[in-house]
């Protein structure tokens, strides 16, 4: 029985991954910013599977409580085997680019808090010489586009950070999994018109579960995004800068 902490556990994608681990009988420590949501997620899982679930209310922006959170999780579950960092926001690009304080806030949520949590996890697992750190980044971090570059840059920062962290942690037998979902049909994207490229949270959640079990370095979810992003990255900058993407 493994012990897994999920940060941003009330997100539609993380819930799906949590259910699969619960089905396997793993113990879960679920963190999100609203206790009512966490209770709903916990009840949903426990009415399906027999396992142990702890819930913990915390805002990712409370940086100085990050260490305390890990101490609490390790104490409650009696150790940790894996961490999934899944929280995030999708800001409105136009509104955000016009307001400096919003840019900083988005970076703090989608990049700084993620790096902070992953760093604490890394220091713990490095000593243990085993473990798994999985983080939801995004295909948006692969190349900056005018329609979404603040979110994209924050995710790009996470992706680059995880590359370096993976390089460091491999020597300690710890896997670092970068998850790059494309567009997913969740409350976060409810306001966007849907296209056939949108994936269901269940599909992405299962992809994360599998990637964490196998310790895969980078998982594009669904897999076709690897090809799409390969093509987008191949476009020369002098052409790309004139495109409306």
């Amino acid at each position: 029985m493994k012990k897994i902490m999920i940060f941003g556990a009330a997100s539609a994608i993380a819930q799906e991954t949590a259910k699969l681990f619960a089905r396997d009988g793993e113990n879960l420590f679920l963190v999100d910013m609203n206790i009512g949501r966490l209770e709903a997620v916990r009840d949903d899982i426990l009415s399906r599977f027999k396992t142990k679930i702890e819930i913990y209310e915390m805002n990712a922006l409370d940086f100085d409580k990050h260490q305390e959170l890990f101490d609490k999780a390790i104490q409650t579950l009696g150790g940790l085997d894996a961490v999934l960092i899944a929280h995030g926001t999708l800001p409105d690009q136009i509104k955000t680019q016009e307001a400096q304080e919003m840019i900083i806030r988005e970076f703090n949520i989608n990049c700084v808090s993620v790096i902070s949590l992953a760093s604490i996890a890394a220091n713990y697992f490095e000593k243990k010489k085993e473990g798994c750190i999985a983080v939801i980044s995004s295909v948006a971090g692969d190349r900056g586009r005018q329609s979404n570059y603040i979110y994209g840059a924050a995710k790009g920062g996470v992706t680059t950070f995880l590359q370096g962290l993976r390089n460091r942690m491999t020597h300690s037998g710890v896997s670092v999994v970068t998850i790059k979902p494309g567009m997913v049909d969740t409350p976060m994207t409810a306001h966007l018109p849907k296209s056939p490229l949108f994936a269901k949270p269940g599909v992405v959640g299962k992809g994360i579960y599998k990637a964490m079990l196998s310790g895969k370095a980078v998982a594009y979810l669904p897999g076709y995004w690897r090809l799409i992003m390969f093509i987008i990255k191949m476009i020369p900058e002098w052409i790309f800068k004139k495109m409306k993407l």
């Binding site: 009512g36 009840d43 949903d44 009415s47 409350p187």
Partner: protein, 441 residues
Amino acid sequence: MIIGDYESWGRYPKYKPNDVFSVYWRNEIPDLGKFPNKILPYAWGKSYGDSCLNENGILIDTKNLSKFISFDEENGLFRCEAGVTLASILDFFVPRGWFLSVTPGTKFISVAGAVANDVHGKNHHNSGSFGCHVTKFELVRSSGERLICSNEENTELFKATIGGLGLTGLITWVEFKLKPCPSAFFAMESEKFYNVDEFFDINDKSEKTFDYTVSWVDCTASGSSLGRGIYNRGNHAHPEEYEIPKLPNQKLKSFPFDAAFINSFSVNVFNMLYFNKQINRIEKNVVHYDPFFYPLDAVLHWNKAYGKQGFLQYQFVVPFGNEKDTIREILKQVSGSGMSSFLTVLKTFGDMKSPGMLSFPRPGVTMAIDFRMNGDKTLKFLESLDSIVRESGGVIYPAKDARMSAEDFQKFYPQWTEFEKYIDPAFSSSFWRRVTKKINN
């Protein structure tokens, strides 16, 4: 969200709401009294007519209230959020040996919708309607109250909400009984009948030994073949008695475009082929619950096969007495009209009473007939069927209706004035406004 997506299953009438508000968490229900227009809950849009529509009003989309809450294995008591589909309940529970106590002919409906329409299924003759198995639910009112309704608390609202067409408040969760099942399969028999009398003879003997019964009727047949069809009956298949096949691995197909694929030619051909497909008088099979209960669910959006103008389903129940003559008369009208129906279903209801104040099922014979919407011609024809139903003391099913007159509704459901007291003042629907219009004598 895209407002145009919020249509009813029959895609007639085409009423659009002014706005849609989605709820995601049962503890974060907005103040229902603050909306500028009348509101109506909406989940998967499987009501056929306008009972799930709210023209110029606001729809509260509950399909994201999709969580399970608890399961009491000892008593089979299951509690889940309003938007949970019967499909997701079956997916999870059938492999663990539990089945729905009552299910209608599609599994893509929400549990709150099952309550609000007090839906029925193939086992009505022994198990009643969905509402007979509901023990409790939570109702959020525009006053801000969150009421637990059951046989013990808020009893009147409990009765009004079952079959209450979503008008008494917002259901956030429902608790109801599941029943043990020995496998995902059913031991099914199909028996051909060649007229209405034969249907009733077969029905009398089948209902005694089969938990589930329903018949398909060839409504294109006339003369000496009038009322021919195939009687389907089944029981849960016990692994000790039957060889249980491997689980089918079927992928859902979706009807790809709006096309008036269903017309009188294709309907005639289909009905003829369907009746003659079965060579023996009686055939026996062990089938999975999907083809047994939900044959049409295999093609998502099959409603699009009727084309953009949509279709109407005419479902009524007539009390026992002169039911044979009534069914014959209706079939005569339908086969003679040339507006033949793709699927016509015939079934008898039992006498188990639902707590629902405005519920449709009652002892008698029910029949559901699909008609392609062909403007006034279709509407006129259905009015002629109304008079037969009216004269035989029957009623029409609100969940399927898009056109019955206010006069008929108020005669069919005289308890509507009593029911009206329990409607939440912030709630309304296109259906309700239509059928409660003042009648000028």
